[in-house]
Structure formats: structure tokens, C-alpha cells
């Protein structure tokens, strides 16, 4: 018995010498993030989720990991230049949020992981198949187009008399346009009219609000992208002012003052993105890494906003929420 232990000890020693984990090597890995919104900091929000995910997998910021964040702050046309900056900074992988960022990253040839907000990559033409992406792009595909109908359903559940919904989306973002199309189609099936409010720049919001003033909707559905997110407070204010129920995509929007949100669990999405980044660090090619779909979708309800705007949320509805902000 003793001899076996000794043998195992010896075997273990040999093995531990042979299997050097990636994280133990001296190489420094560089991850970049690219968004059309403001740069994603590594210390908060989705950036933090990504960095934590990487840390769990052996890449520690300040030790063997360098984090480069670039954001166009709403100026979509800047995206390509920012991507070139990242490439010049020699990043191993770029993690993107939004379709324009993904498209710019794809064009640069740098291995790319889409974390969220880029629609169906097959439909937008970023890849040919989810199972076999085939290019330099992989990541998380959101089913957001279908989800928009779920969001409509939630609005309808909240106010059964729903007849007209105002939809706000960034007309310049192909991923967003897809969502609009899917939602408009679902709305028609439900007998609900859609008030299309496509925006391209911050100033367009005023026009959108004017349109809503003239033909008043029963609810607002905001399709999230950096443009709309940057101007979310204005939408919150307008909804509150006109006592309109509104639904958003990301959980943090509801926490931030939106009435409610329904969408993929960001934490999960960025954790999966971190897993994909790790694989690319370890030498895998994005072409061989299938896209993944989110598993968890969170319904977040902000009771504070509801109270403030005087919208009555039935208890059954609240009971179904994954998170209630009070």
C-alpha cells in the first residue's frame, strides 16, 4: 500500500511537470472591448463581468492580462478607426457589443467574440452558420428578434387594452432593424399597431417624442443599442410624463429607472464570452467555435418607477419577475 502511494506521488510529480496550464506561462494576453457606446470599463457592469470571467479561467488583470477598452460614444462612424487602434495595440481578441462594432472587428481580421447586442449573426451576414462560423467571429447570438415579441407579450399582459406601441430603435444598426421587423410582425398578429420611431442620432429623439405627442401610443418598446441607451433617461422621462408603460431589454435599464426589462442575462452572456475568449487565448480559431445562445432571460420590474409614474403592476405579474427593484 505504501509503495503504491509512493508511485502515485512520483506519477503526480511527473504529470504536474508535463501539464503546464496556460495561465502559468509568462505570456501576457490582451483582450479588447469595442462598443459604439462609451468604452466599457473593466471595473463595472459588463466589463467587470468579462474580467471576472477571465479571472476565473486564469487570466488576471495586471498579471497576465491587459484590458483595452474602446467606445465610439455614439459616433458609429468612428468604430472602424477604434478597431484599428485595438489592432495596433496588438489585442489577441476583441469582445464586441452591438452590430457595427462586430462588423468593424470582423473587417479587421482580429479574432472576435460577440458578447451581446448584435442580433442574429447569420441574418446580418456576419457568419454563415452558428455551429460553424467559419470566419474570425464567434460569440453569443441573441434571439432578440424573437424576444421583442415576448416583450410585446409582456406589455400586453400588463395592459390588456394595448392597441398601439411606439418602437424606438437605431435605424443605422442592422441588428436593431431586424428586431424592429420581427416585433412589427408579431404586433400585427396580436392586433396591435406599431408606431415606428427609428432614430439615427440624439437629435432624432425630439422628433420621436413629437410624433408620440401627436399620435399617442399605449406603451413604449425601446430596442436597446448604444444610441438608445445613451438617451434612455430622456425616454424614461417621457414615459413617466405620459404615464406610459415601457419595456426595455437589458436588466440594468430597469434597475436604472426603466419600468421593466426582459432580456438575456448579461452576466451569463459575458461569462460565456469570457469562456470563448479563453479558448482563443489557448489557440482555438473562432472559425471552429460555434456561437452560443443565452440560457437565462431575466424579467426585471422596477416598482419604484411604477409607483412614481402611477402604473399599477398586478401582483401576479410582479410575482413572475426574476428581480424586483423597490
Amino acid at each position: 500500500m505504501k509503495r503504491r502511494q509512493v508511485l502515485q506521488l512520483l506519477a503526480g510529480a511527473t504529470l504536474s511537470m508535463s501539464c503546464g496550464a496556460v495561465a502559468q506561462t509568462s505570456k501576457t494576453y490582451r483582450v479588447g472591448t469595442l462598443t459604439v457606446g462609451p468604452p466599457i470599463p473593466p471595473t463595472a457592469g459588463t466589463g467587470k463581468m468579462l474580467v471576472e470571467g477571465l479571472e476565473q479561467r486564469g487570466f488576471k488583470l495586471g498579471q497576465n492580462l491587459v484590458y483595452e477598452a474602446r467606445g465610439a460614444a455614439g459616433k458609429v462612424s468612428q468604430t472602424a478607426n477604434l478597431m484599428q487602434e485595438l489592432k495596433a495595440a496588438n489585442v489577441d481578441v476583441v469582445v464586441t457589443v452591438s452590430y457595427p462594432a462586430a462588423a468593424a472587428a470582423k473587417a479587421s481580421g482580429v479574432p472576435t467574440v460577440i458578447a451581446s447586442g448584435s442580433g442574429d449573426p447569420v441574418k446580418t451576414g456576419l457568419v454563415t452558420s452558428l455551429a460553424q462560423p467559419g470566419g474570425n467571429v464567434t460569440g453569443i447570438s441573441d434571439d432578440a428578434a424573437a424576444l421583442s415579441t415576448k416583450r410585446l407579450g409582456l406589455l400586453k399582459q400588463l395592459s390588456p387594452q394595448l392597441r398601439r406601441v411606439a418602437m424606438l430603435w437605431n435605424k443605422d444598426d442592422l441588428g436593431m432593424s431586424q428586431r424592429y421587423d420581427a416585433s412589427a410582425k408579431a404586433a400585427q398578429e396580436m392586433g396591435v399597431t406599431v408606431l415606428p420611431l427609428g432614430v439615427r442620432e440624439p437629435d432624432d429623439f425630439n422628433d420621436a417624442f413629437t410624433t408620440m405627442d401627436s399620435s399617442r401610443p399605449d406603451a413604449i418598446l425601446m430596442v436597446s443599442d448604444s444610441l438608445t441607451l445613451l438617451n434612455r433617461k430622456r425616454v424614461f422621462d417621457y414615459a413617466a410624463q405620459h404615464r406610459l408603460p415601457a419595456i426595455y431589454e437589458q436588466d440594468f435599464v430597469a434597475r436604472d429607472g426603466g419600468l421593466m426589462s426582459y432580456g438575456a442575462d448579461q452576466k451569463e452572456s459575458f461569462d460565456r464570452a469570457a469562456a470563448l475568449v479563453t479558448k482563443i487565448f489557448e489557440g482555438a480559431k473562432p472559425a471552429d467555435l460555434p456561437f452560443e445562445l443565452p440560457t437565462r432571460y431575466l424579467l426585471v420590474v422596477n416598482l419604484k418607477t411604477a409607483k412614481a409614474t402611477g402604473i399599477n403592476l398586478p401582483p401576479d405579474f410582479v410575482a413572475l419577475a426574476d428581480e424586483v427593484v423597490e
Binding site: L7, Q8, L10, A11, T14, L130, M190, P290, L293, R296
Partner: protein, 986 residues
């Protein structure tokens, strides 16, 4: 101990050579180290073998233990994972159970919807939940991704999730992939009550991955899940799953699916083809399997360590064994070494050597015995030496004799043709070895013994008569050695010998005869001046010498006989070679008579050893020398100017007159011989005349002359006659050849004259005929006024026959031109196609008149050709004209095709055909087919002959293929590029 031996050895040095001893000792050190090395190696080998055997056992068992430990761990891990998966599914089952408790009544829909949504919240793995009522229609569907659907009524009756759930309470669907990406499974659960319907959940199995990914198998192993169909459901590498990988072909999966029968596979290849240790556990309710695998290298790891460790131990043991070996071997080898060194010195001859070993064991006893042996050896050595000396002396005597014998043999073999050196050598050696004052060799010649060789200081006898009363004579008569110890006291038996002894002063004598095949050839005698008899060995030796001398004499005789025969043979060969040479020249130069005759006379003269020779042929008033040998220029001049007289005045005349060979031994002694003028130019004594006979009649004579009186032998005369016959044949050959040449020249001349005549005649005939035809035509055209019908008929016939005659003349003209060699081809580039089309246009009316089909078939790619286009057109016109002429119904076809540098034209008709016998004839001049209708069609019978020659002048070929009654095809092939005019075949 070694030091002991050395001291001892140097102290006991004897008179023997030191280098020998030194060499023996150095040889010893090599042997010593061998033994030493053997002992050391043996010790090391024993230790190492034991260690290696132990190492192998240890390595093997540790590998086995480690492997089974790994497999056990893996099985446990797989089981744990299977349990977790089962728990995951069971949990979903129980959660689903809540949704199937309410019966389907209208009021329950809201409640159900709420329950369903709550379920989604509680169980993240369920993405979609549908509720089916008892009649199989969907009443409610809630989803995380899309809007809720109420009362869609979708029919589930035939779907397995409904049917099987109703039957079995619970249904687990196959794994499927949403959007080719996410693994999903359908779980359906029927309520406890019949009317509570079925809940169908779409379950995301990605969560199972978490379970699987977290399993750490060994250091580099992994766990994965495979469904009942062998498809990969979960794997740490999600990509593999998403690619819908089929694992069913892996041995371990196959074995697991096959059930519990037999031992599960423990080592197999994984999906990447690496060898792995594998264990599995089933997930019972789902029919899935969880596999845990580690690379086989992990199982091998202890193997390597063990090998390494065994290696270290081995190295250490090796060192120890080496040191122990050195020590032990030193102890063992030392005394043996001392013993061996001492023995070596004794062996090398150092008999005073004594070995000192004090080990008190067998080795010491052995050393003592060696010492005793050395002492005994030393004693017997002196005795031996004396004997050796005696024997050596005897041997040296024998050696001297052997040397002498071999010396004589050497001399014998060196001079096969001369016996003298042999005899000299015998004499000299006999004197030395037998210690005699004088040795003499006599050879018998009739009744006299002649002195042939001599050695010694006595006076020499040149010859003595054969006499029984001498010792020498007696040895010859008796053919055996005769030995007399003292001639002076020997009595009267050797009275003559005694006289010699007195005269020459010898006393003891030994005579040995040289005998060969029972005949005495001579004798060897050895003598001493004092009375001292020869020893028997001397007699024996001398007998040997005598035999050798006899053999030598016989050899020389045989050699000379052989020489004689060889000389005769080579002489005969020389004559035959000369004869053959002459024949060769005759056959080679049949037509150059002079060369033949010169060669003949020269060869004859040489072989017959004549100094001069000549061939003389009859001329008016005498004979002329037409070919000579050995004549000086003046004599040649004289012979050219003067004829040899006929009749008995010359040998030539006499030979002709007699018709037989004549030899005059000495012309100076011959009264009738009058041809003495020749003697001015050199002596002539013996003369030979050989007749050259054709059909018994002499046509000339070969004479041969010698300046001395020496008759020609029969052989030489025979040879000369052979040459005379050859000369006749050669002369005849030349005559016949010249005759034939003259005749053929005459024939050729005649033929040319004929052709020339024909050519001229045809031309002369054509001119007036043209006038006749011309005028007839003018009359018919009415130039000279209208002619009455009767006259017209006659004129038509005149014209027809005239044209036929003109054609005939033209043909004859062509043919004669060709034969006279006057027809030249005018070579130029031309188009085959155009040529054939030209002919087609020209002949088409003829075919039209006879209502015959007429076709021209040309292949597309006919190249430009080079030749006489006009003449080839003529050929084609003739062939096509003939075809139309002889064909009454059907069609005529012309075809052309080119290949391999030439082209072939075929003219095919459906006429009567040509009998096989006629096919060759039709190409001869003035010949037509024998068939009756040919006569009716007319024609000159020259056309084909001309056509054939024109084609041949182009270097081509014209031929016909025909079957009687079925038509004919005429072909001709012509090179595309005619380089120069070829001769038409005569």
C-alpha cells in the same frame, strides 16, 4: 607473488634466448586480462540481471495497479456525474408534475398560465412549456423567448410526446439542437388523473455541460455524455457537441451500448484517436451514458518513473559489482597468473625456471608438478640433442642427393632438344656425391662407345670398342651395374679393363648402363684412383642418374621426331593456304584476268620454290609470256619482244605437244633445248612445264625455272598442275563474262532505238492526222457549204475513227517517251481538291449521257501537294473514263484522302468487274480484259499502262481491287511532296 616469479626467472636465466621469454610473458598479459575481465563481467552480469528482473516485475505491477486505480476513480466519477444528471432530470420531472395536477376546466386557464410562468422562473433549464389537454390539443404555451399562446388547439394526438407520455406517464425525447447550436430535449409528463392532460417541456441541456465540465478526471482526462444512439450530448469542449458528433463507432461507446454482457472496454481510442483509459456509468431513466476518460499516458506515468528508478539502482549496483569484481577476480587470478607465467617460461625453453607459489592449495600442488616436469625435461634434453645431430647429418646427405637429382631434372626440362647439358650435369653431380676422381658418360654407337660427357682430372678417352672384358662393356651387355673394387686384383674376367686401369691409374670402378625399354643406350662410369669400393647407396644413386640420362636422351629423340613432323605439316598448310588465297583472288576479281594470272604465277613459283615462272599462251608463230614472276625488267622487256618458239626447242613447246607435264633436269645437258637466249638474263638449269588444259586441249603453259640443278618434287608438280587448272577456269570465266556484257549492251541499244523510232513515228503520224480531223470538222461545220446527209454520216465516221487513231498515237507517243526516258515530270504545288474537281467537271457529261450516278467525295483536310498535276489529272481522267466506259448502270465514285505524307485516290464503279487472272494483265501495254464486252467498248489498251508509269514516276503505286460482277475500284497512292522524279519500272 608476481614479484616472486620475476626474481626467480631472472635468477634462473639459462642460455636460451631472452626475446622468446619476453614474448611469452607479453602474450600472457593479454590472456590474464581476459580471465580477469571474465570474472568481473560475470559478477556484474549476475547483479544486473537480478536487478533488471526485479525492475521489470515492479514496473509491470505498478502499471497494473495504477491503471486499475485510475479506472476505478473514473468509474466513480462517471457514476457521480450520471447521478447528478439523473437528479437534474428527476427534479424537472417533479417540477413538471405540479403543472399536471389541475383538471382541464375553463376557469383554470389563468391559474395554469401563472403556474407555467412560475415554473419557467424556478427551472431555468426549461425554455418552453406546452400544456396539452386530455384530448390531445394544445391549450397553453409559454416560452422565455416568445409571446405566450393560449388555446392554439394544435393537435398533439399523433406526436410521441403526447402518446408515449399518456402511455408511460413520462416521456424523454431525443436530444435535438436548437438553431444547430443548443442541445435540447423534450420531456413530457402526464398527470396522475386521466383528464389532467400532458405537460411538454423543452429542456436546455446546456446545464448538463456544467456538470460534465466540472468533472476533473485524472490530470488530463475528461468526462462526456453520450445518448442512447451514440451521439455526443455533453463534453467539456462544447464545440464538439455543437458539431453533432457521432461517437457510436468508438469501442467504449459500442461496448456500453451493448449492455452489461462481458467486461467493459478499459482502453480504447478517443474521438481524436488518442489511446485512453475509459469507464462509464449509465444514466438510467434516459438511456444515456457518462464516460470518464484519461489519456493512457497517465497510466504509463508510473511505468516511466519505475524505469528511471530501476535505472538509478542499476547504475549503483553496477558500480558496486564492478569494485567487488575487481577485488575477487584479483584474488583468484593472481596465483593462476603466477603459475601461467612460470609455465610460459618453461614452455619458452627456460628449463631452469622454478615456480614459487605458497597458497597451500591445489594451485601450489600444480606449481610443484610443473617444477618436477621442468627438471625431467632438462635431463632428457641433452640426450635428445645428440640424436638430432646424427640425424641431421643423414638428412643433409639425403638432401644433397635430392638436390642433385632435382638439379638434373631441372637441366633436363630446360633443354628438351639437347642432351649434352644433362649428361654434363649428371657427370658433375655423380663425381661430387659418389666422391669419385673421374666420371665419364659413354653412348653406344654401333659397336663403339663414344665419350659423351666427362668430369674429373683423368685423361679422357674419346671412344672405346664394345668389349665384354671391360667393365664398361660388361655393363652394356648385361644391362646392369657392374662394380669392381680393385681392377688390378680382379682376375682375367676384366682383362681389357685391367689394361685400361693400368694405363689410366684407377683401381675401383663402377659402371651403370643407361637402359631404355630394355635397350642399353650407353653407360656411366665412376672411378677412384685408390681401392675404395662404392657404397650401395652410391650404386643406387648412380642408377637413378643413369635412368635420368636415358630419359633425357629419349626425350631429345622424341623431340626431334616431333620437330620433323611439325615442319612437314606447316609446309602442307602453307601450300593449302596459298591455294585458297589464289582461289579467293580468282573469285573476287573474275573480270581482271591479269591480276588473276599474276597471282597464280607468283603463288605457284613460291610454293614450288622456283626462282622464275611464267604463264605462256599460244600466239601466231610461238608462245607469249602473258604473266611472269621473278623476271628482271630486262628479261620482261625481252619476253615481251620475243616469242617462245614452238616444238621441242622450248619446254613450252614440248609441253603443248605432249599435252602433259614436262620436266628438264638440266637444260644445259639437253641437246634439243634451243631457247638459250633467256640465259643471258640469269642462269637456268632445271625447268618445269605444266599444260593448262581445257577440255583436254592445252590453252597455255606454266613454266618454272631454277638456276641450279634441283628437280621439282612430285608434290610441287601436283601443285603446279592445280594452279594450271585454276588459270584455265579464270580465263574461261572472263571470256564468258565479257560475252554476256557485250550482248546486254546490244539489247539495250536496240530497245532505245525502238522507243526513239516510236516517238518519231507517232509524231510524224499525228501531224497529218490532225490535218484530216481539222478539215473534216470544218466540212461538218458547213464552212465549205452544206454537205449532204449521206456525206455527213461518212464524215462522222471519219472523225470518230480519226479521233480514236489520234488517241492511240498520243498514247503510243507517251509510252515511247516514257520508255525512251524522255518524259519529264513538271513538278509544282497543286491542290488535290482542284485537280479532282477539274476532272469531275470534264467527265460529268459522259456520266450524264449514260445516266450514271457520278460522285466526288473529298475529305475536308486535303493538303496542298507537290507533283506533276497535269500528268496526275491524265491518270485520273483515264481511270474515271474507263470506269464510265465500262459501267452501264449504277454509279462511279471518286474519293481522295491523305495520310502519313501521301494521299490515295480511289475510283469506284459498279461495272462488270475484272476477273482475277486479268487484273495483272490490264496494266501491260496493248492488253485489255479478256471479257467479251471489253472488245465492244474499244480502247487502245495503253491508258492504264501509261497511268501506272506516271504514278510510279511520282514514286507512287497504282492497283485494282475487283470482284467479277460487282464492280472495280482503282487506287493510286502518291507522295504529297514528290522530291524528285522516280524511274518508271520497265
Amino acid at each position: 607473488m608476481k614479484a616472486d616469479v620475476k626474481q626467480n626467472a631472472s635468477a634462473a636465466t639459462t642460455g636460451l634466448d631472452r626475446p622468446d621469454v619476453a614474448a611469452a610473458v607479453s602474450g600472457a598479459s593479454v590472456v590474464r586480462s581476459l580471465l580477469f575481465v571474465k570474472y568481473v563481467a560475470l559478477l556484474i552480469a549476475v547483479v544486473v540481471l537480478a536487478l533488471i528482473a526485479n525492475g521489470i516485475f515492479e514496473v509491470w505491477f505498478s502499471y497494473r495497479e495504477h491503471k486499475s486505480a485510475l479506472i476505478d476513480t473514473q468509474r466513480l466519477q462517471a457514476q457521480a456525474a450520471a447521478d447528478k444528471i439523473e437528479e437534474f432530470i428527476t427534479q424537472i420531472d417533479s417540477q413538471l408534475g405540479w403543472t399536471t395536477q389541475l383538471p382541464w376546466t375553463d376557469g383554470t386557464l389563468d391559474q395554469r398560465r401563472f403556474d407555467a410562468l412560475r415554473l419557467l422562473r424556478q427551472v431555468p433549464a426549461i425554455t418552453e412549456l406546452a400544456q396539452i389537454d386530455a384530448s390531445g390539443h394544445e391549450q397553453l404555451k409559454v416560452s422565455r423567448l416568445t409571446m405566450d399562446v393560449v388555446g392554439s388547439g394544435i393537435d398533439y394526438l399523433d406526436k410521441p410526446e403526447f402518446k408515449l407520455a399518456m402511455a408511460n406517464k413520462v416521456y424523454y425525447g431525443p436530444v435535438y439542437f436548437r438553431r444547430e447550436s443548443e442541445p435540447y430535449m423534450t420531456i413530457a409528463l402526464a398527470g396522475a388523473r386521466r383528464d389532467s392532460g400532458v405537460s411538454v417541456a423543452q429542456v436546455n441541456l446546456k446545464l448538463i455541460w456544467d456538470v460534465v465540465s466540472k468533472i476533473q478526471v485524472g490530470a488530463n482526462g475528461r468526462a462526456y455524455v453520450v445518448d442512447g444512439g451514440g451521439r455526443l450530448i455533453a463534453h467539456p469542449d462544447i464545440s464538439l457537441v455543437l458539431r453533432n458528433t457521432d461517437m457510436s463507432h468508438l469501442a467504449q461507446v459500442e461496448s456500453a451500448r451493448a449492455g452489461s454482457a462481458g467486461d467493459p472496454v478499459q482502453t480504447a481510442l478517443d474521438i481524436a484517436g488518442h489511446e485512453v483509459l475509459t469507464a462509464f456509468a449509465p444514466v438510467v431513466p434516459l438511456g444515456w451514458y457518462v464516460f470518464a476518460e484519461t489519456p493512457i499516458e497517465e497510466a504509463y506515468a508510473p511505468l516511466y518513473t519505475s524505469i528511471q528508478r530501476t535505472g538509478y539502482v542499476l547504475l549503483g549496483a553496477l558500480g558496486l559489482a564492478f569494485i567487488a569484481g575487481l577485488f575477487l577476480a584479483g584474488r583468484m587470478v593472481g596465483p593462476i597468473q603466477a603459475l601461467r607465467a612460470g609455465a610460459a617460461r618453461i614452455g619458452a625453453g627456460d628449463l631452469g625456471q622454478r615456480i614459487k607459489i605458497r597458497t597451500g592449495d591445489e594451485v601450489e600442488a600444480l606449481a610443484n608438478q610443473f617444477n618436477d616436469m621442468a627438471g625431467k625435461l632438462q635431463e632428457s634434453y641433452a640426450d635428445l640433442e645428440k640424436k638430432v645431430e646424427l640425424r641431421t647429418h643423414e638428412l643433409s646427405d639425403a638432401l644433397d642427393q635430392q638436390t642433385a637429382i632435382s638439379e638434373i631434372l631441372r637441366v633436363t626440362s630446360n633443354s628438351p632438344s639437347d642432351v649434352q647439358p644433362v649428361l654434363n650435369s649428371v657427370a658433375e653431380h655423380a663425381a661430387h656425391i659418389c666422391d669419385a676422381q673421374v666420371v665419364e658418360v659413354f653412348l653406344l654407337e654401333g659397336k663403339v662407345l663414344r665419350d659423351a660427357a666427362w668430369y674429373g682430372d683423368f685423361p679422357r678417352l674419346s671412344e672405346i670398342p664394345l668389349d665384354r672384358a671391360t667393365v664398361i662393356g660388361r655393363s652394356i651387355y648385361d644391362r646392369q651395374p657392374v662394380h669392381v673394387a680393385d681392377l688390378l686384383t680382379a682376375g682375367d674376367e676384366f682383362a681389357a679393363g685391367r689394361e685400361y686401369a693400368r694405363k689410366m691409374g684407377h683401381r675401383t670402378i663402377l659402371a651403370v648402363p643407361l637402359v631404355r625399354e630394355g635397350r642399353a643406350l650407353g653407360t656411366i662410369t665412376i672411378r677412384r684412383a685408390e681401392v675404395r669400393p662404392f657404397a650401395p647407396k652410391h650404386i643406387a644413386l648412380l642408377s637413378t642418374f643413369a635412368d635420368q640420362a636415358a630419359i633425357a636422351i629419349e626425350n631429345v629423340r622424341l623431340f626431334e621426331a616431333e620437330q620433323e613432323r611439325t615442319h612437314e605439316l606447316s609446309e602442307s598448310l602453307r601450300q593449302q593456304t596459298a591455294t585458297a588465297d589464289v582461289l579467293k583472288i580468282i573469285s573476287r576479281t573474275t573480270f581482271d584476268l591479269q591480276t588473276v594470272l599474276d597471282t597464280l604465277v607468283e603463288s605457284a613459283a613460291r610454293l614450288c620454290e622456283a626462282e622464275k615462272a611464267s604463264i605462256n599462251r599460244a600466239e601466231d608463230g610461238g608462245y607469249r609470256a602473258v604473266s611472269t614472276y621473278g623476271f628482271s625488267p630486262e628479261l620482261k622487256q625481252f619476253a615481251a619482244e620475243h616469242l617462245i618458239p614452238a616444238g621441242p626447242a622450248s619446254v613450252t613447246g614440248r609441253t603443248v605437244a605432249g599435252g602433259a607435264t614436262v620436266q628438264v633436269l638440266d637444260v644445259t645437258a639437253d641437246a634439243e633445248y634451243k631457247t638459250t637466249a633467256y640465259m643471258k638474263f640469269g642462269k637456268v638449269r632445271t625447268l618445269l612445264g605444266v599444260p593448262m588444259l581445257r577440255e583436254g586441249m592445252p590453252t597455255g603453259v606454266i613454266t618454272m625455272m631454277r638456276s641450279e640443278v634441283r628437280p621439282f618434287t612430285d608434290k610441287q608438280i601436283e601443285l603446279a598442275q592445280t594452279f594450271a587448272d585454276q588459270a584455265v577456269i579464270a580465263i574461261e570465266n572472263v571470256r564468258l563474262f565479257e560475252e554476256i556484257q557485250e550482248k546486254s549492251r546490244q539489247v539495250e541499244e536496240a530497245s532505245k532505238h525502238k522507243s526513239q523510232f516510236l516517238a518519231n513515228m507517232s509524231h510524224e503520224l499525228r501531224t497529218p492526222l490532225n490535218a484530216i480531223l481539222g478539215y473534216t470538222e470544218l466540212i461538218l461545220d458547213g464552212i465549205y457549204g452544206d454537205a449532204p446527209d449521206k456525206m455527213r454520216n461518212v464524215l462522222d465516221r471519219v472523225q470518230t475513227n480519226g479521233r480514236h487513231l489520234l488517241g492511240l498515237i498520243n498514247d503510243v507517243l507517251d509510252l515511247s517517251k516514257i520508255e525512251a526516258g524522255q518524259l519529264a515530270l513538271r513538278l509544282s504545288d497543286y491542290s488535290i481538291k482542284e485537280m479532282m474537281e477539274g476532272v469531275y467537271v470534264a467527265v460529268e457529261p459522259l456520266a450524264g449521257n449514260k445516266k450514271l450516278g457520278f460522285r466526288l467525295e473529298l475529305s475536308e483536310d486535303l493538303p496542298t501537294a507537290y507533283g506533276d498535276e497535269r500528268r496526275l489529272s491524265q491518270v485520273l481522267l483515264n481511270l474515271v473514263g474507263n470506269a464510265i466506259k465500262f459501267t452501264d448502270t449504277g454509279a462511279v465514285t471518286m474519293k481522295a484522302a491523305a495520310a502519313n505524307g501521301s494521299y490515295t485516290i480511289a475510283v469506284n464503279d459498279t461495272g462488270p468487274g475484272i476477273a482475277e487472272d486479268d487484273q495483272a494483265k490490264i496494266f501491260e501495254e496493248f492488253k485489255q480484259s479478256e471479257a467479251a464486252q471489253t472488245k465492244a467498248k474499244g480502247g487502245t489498251g495503253l491508258g492504264l499502262s501509261i497511268a501506272k508509269r506516271i504514278v510510279e514516276m511520282h514514286g507512287g503505286r497504282l492497283w485494282v481491287e475487283s470482284t467479277l460482277g460487282k464492280g472495280s475500284t482503282f487506287f493510286f497512292t502518291v507522295p504529297l511532296k514528290v522530291e524528285s522524279q522516280a524511274r518508271a519500272e520497265e
